[in-house]
Amino acid sequence: MTKPLEPLVMGGVTPRVDGIAKVTGRAPYACEQLVERPAYLHPVQSEAALGRITGFDAAEAATLKGVLAVLSPFDSPSLTPGTDPELEILQSPEVAFRGQLIGAVVAETPEIARQAAGLISVDYEVREHDTAFSADRDDLYKPDVVNPSFATDTLTGDPDRAFAAAERAVDAVYTTPMYHNNPMEPHATIAVWSGETLTLYDSTQGVHPLRRTIAELFGLAEDDVRVVAPFVGGGFGSKGKPHANTVLAVLAALRLPGRAVKFALTRQQMFSFVGYRTPTIQHVRLAADASGRLTSISNDVIEQTAKLKEFAEQTGLPARSMYAAENRRTTHRLAALDVAVPSWMRAPGECPGMFAPEVAMDELAEACRMDPVELRVRNEPDVDPESGLPFSSRNLVACLRDGAHRFGWYGRQPLPRSILHDGCWWGTGVASSVYPVNQSPGSAATVRFLGEGRYEVRIGAVDIGTGAWTVLGQIAADALGVGYGDVSVDIGDTNLPWASVAGGSSGTTNWGSAIVAAARAFRDEHGADPAPGSEVTATQQDNPNTGRYAMSAYGAQFAEVAVDVDTGEVRVTRLLGVFAAGRILNPKTARSQLIGGMTMGLSMALHEHSVLDNRFGFVVNHDFAEYHIASCADVASVEARWIDEEDPYVNPMGSKGIGEIGIVGTAAAIANAVYHATGVRVRDLPITADRFLE
């Protein structure tokens, strides 16, 4: 059922169908949905990092004019126990991390709610917390699997022996800090409980997955819950899994039947309870012969999770299959801490897991006196090193060569610290990118003929800024064999057919496959000349090529940096990414996704760093003045290109996911460029000015 679709509309530069509504402010985001008499929620958060709440005095708050409800661990509707400890808030007085949601005030205005929340006095029986992440802990443990269900450790051959016998080797420890996702639109919910049914306008990456979780938590039938999310201002994974903020809004709505309860997070709250990327400590060892051919790769990863709930990022994954090597090891060990629960952040696994090995490859290139591009080419595998499967398509080498050509790589002075002008050290670096073609089952779509040549496609997909509104219409047009203007698309609502989460760069694969299935079933059933009102709903077919081919997108990223001689300030003057990601369905939205990912990678390389103060147990730089994200001035030139790649195995569209690969490898390319510029090898992100000052 992956018969390729003929691309007539797909691949064309179709402008975003939702673009004008967004730039004119007429696209309603979650908190902007028109509801009658909204009430406003302000949360109460734990100021202890571990312990038990012994008192929750809301007497003064409750008497404030305009206060409608106060919730606390001692006074809250019940949730189904045993579902998800992260989400089961206000069910017990236990505190598992600082910033945890422990109460709420709902009031007629946001100002009153905030004031009242400030009047609440909470007493704690505080226990000594432990948030110190380190490789030296004696309580590191091995999780059963890493996200979502990969083997925790892998071993092929004898990496240690190969390392000991290596003619050239790299043995180094690399670290990435904690990051917080911080989409432009903070998490936001409007919850309305009618007494029988619950309606949620939520900033989510998946209306149906959220509905399932909420229904289970609150003991409701899924049909009694409706989730609506037509427009979402980014998620980067933090809106992929439901978090406690939505639960708190629903708890409050249960207390106020008929009232629409609004809960929009402040930026500071975004650093508390909606997920983040774990810090990682990666011990990478590469072994090679004198010609640069890898004989062994290992990455031993240490990262953190929450005692409250385990999340194990799959950071070692890329080392399992990126390059050919006979001996190979990856391991993951976790420190369970009194911290908020880590979660998905753009390219979990690949993003941190391609930083360390790709810097190590640069170090190996130097050890072998080889060009870093050629080192990667030399280690290109014939089949997937981990599974032994053939690749459905793998064009990493083409990306490296094309990128090197476009970037002007080959005139590069090989010695570091050799270009000084305009008061800066200049250098260039390269790294590879990879992201798997993920697919999950179950998405369905409805195709309906409206008459007069027009079709409607309905699916509960969510556009988190990716372009899904537009691209799904392009897919539908080709699947139905009609023009783009003949198709209207409706998404973002659980009243539409079931759709998977917008995560893992899998949205277009899953939803597009469902639309293709529905369109083909529609034509089978109703032919080319259907009666108005004809309609068919179909579910995406399983891909018969799963398990027969290894499927991933690849890329090569090139960076040029200037490091100020006086101040050590690092600026990225050029970034070029060349990607091989199957058919690019819409060059306009694809480019936006790719340069967005690369910009986020630049931000990771130079700026982003959540600073956890272990004395208090929370992230102290919890706003955009202090948690730096790259500003426009930091992004001089970011260019994304792609090569034509035909892949008939991945899905009917021939497309691979592109939402995440842009952030993979960027930080390594920049770190490698910084080394080339300065001769200083930075193995710990972010790369800040102080590394270059003595």
Binding site: Q115, G118, G568, F616, H628, A630, L693
Partner: protein, 334 residues
């Protein structure tokens, strides 16, 4: 945040008379800092007196050739003023290196001077802070100190003053005019801000209800050769790790006069008088600049996360003075 009353001041004396006797009253300028504090619970006034409609919205010439800057002049207007750009480029550059266009369009001259530290612990009411709550301990000490002071700090506070504009004004020997209940005072900007000592809660020497009405920048012909340089962790929209404001007057290859002030290093804009004194009469060359910078920074006491500020400040002083000396040489030869 608590409810508060809002009044729009129509004249300065009334504004002062309204705010001075009421410890829960405060002036409102552009609001770019105060409104944050209201939301974060750092400031909880009962009364906010808006002074942006007072007649202090002009930049006017002084008899000595300097400029009088009204306290209500917006940062973006001041930076764009041709007299500022030509005579005091260091001031225009400092203004434009701060914040964002949107904030500069709102922020006032007086408010910019009185903005408070962005210390992470000051800004979070759930952590102790002696600047926010007199008598409390300093949470930054023993915590995250990348952005904190290397000069003039005390065991009670290691915060830095965040303004760029104030650093330039200190280098230019600017003077603040203050209206109080007793009358008008003049305070050099260099003396306006305090070191924390035992009382970090006092940012400045002003009393409660004292209103800045304007800033005089005296004539300083050699300030036409002046520069503001700011090092920061990202290229825009970031507070200074270290900044340098400098003006240099060179005659026959020797330093005739020099002004140097540092930002990002102390609880106040740091006038580098030791470096200045060391340079007068010396040759305007990098080696002398380096020796002077080293002398200025000899007493620096970096914290665990900010030792880099010492070489950064030293390098920047040398670089800025060298650049200014180069411009002077070009001027002499043309």
């Amino acid at each position: 945040m608590i409810p508060f009353d809002y009044q729009r001041a129509t004249d300065a004396d009334t504004a002062v008379a309204t705010v001075a006797p009421n410890p829960r009253a405060t002036f409102l300028g552009g609001g770019t800092n105060l409104v944050d504090h209201l939301k974060l619970g750092i400031a909880e006034p009962e009364l906010v007196v808006d002074v942006t409609h007072l007649p202090f919205d002009r930049v006017e010439p002084l008899d000595d050739g300097g400029l009088r800057i009204g306290a209500g002049v917006r940062n973006s207007d001041l930076a764009a003023d041709p007299r500022v750009r030509v005579r005091y480029p260091v001031l225009a550059q400092a203004l434009l290196s701060g914040a964002s266009w949107q904030l500069r369009n709102l922020a006032t001259t007086g408010g910019n001077l009185l903005q408070r530290t962005r210390c992470e612990y000051f800004q979070d009411v759930t952590t102790p802070c002696g600047k926010r709550e007199p008598g409390q301990s300093c949470s930054a000490i023993g915590g995250y100190t990348r952005n904190h002071a290397i000069l003039g700090a005390s065991p009670r506070c290691v915060a830095v003053h965040p303004s760029d504009m104030a650093v330039a004004l200190v280098a230019l020997d600017a003077v603040v005019h203050v209206r109080t209940r007793e009358g008008n005072h003049a305070v050099p900007v260099a003396d306006l801000h305090r070191l924390p000592g035992e009382h970090p809660e006092w940012d400045t020497v002003l009393g409660h209800g004292d209103l800045i009405t304007g800033v005089d920048v005296p004539s300083l012909p050699f300030a036409e050769t002046s520069r503001y340089r700011k090092a920061r962790d990202r290229a825009s929209y970031a507070f200074a790790l270290v900044s340098v404001a400098a003006a240099l007057d060179v005659a026959d290859g020797l330093v005739r006069d020099v002004r140097i002030a540092l930002g990002g290093v102390a609880h106040k804009p740091w006038r580098a008088r030791l470096a200045e004194q060391a340079l007068i009469g010396r040759r305007a060359v990098a080696g002398e600049f380096r020796a002077a910078a080293t002398a200025e920074l000899a007493d620096a006491q970096p914290l665990p996360d900010n030792g880099f500020k010492v070489p950064m400040a030293r390098n920047m002083i040398v670089a800025v003075l060298s650049e200014l000396a180069g411009e002077e040489r070009r001027d002499e030869t043309t």
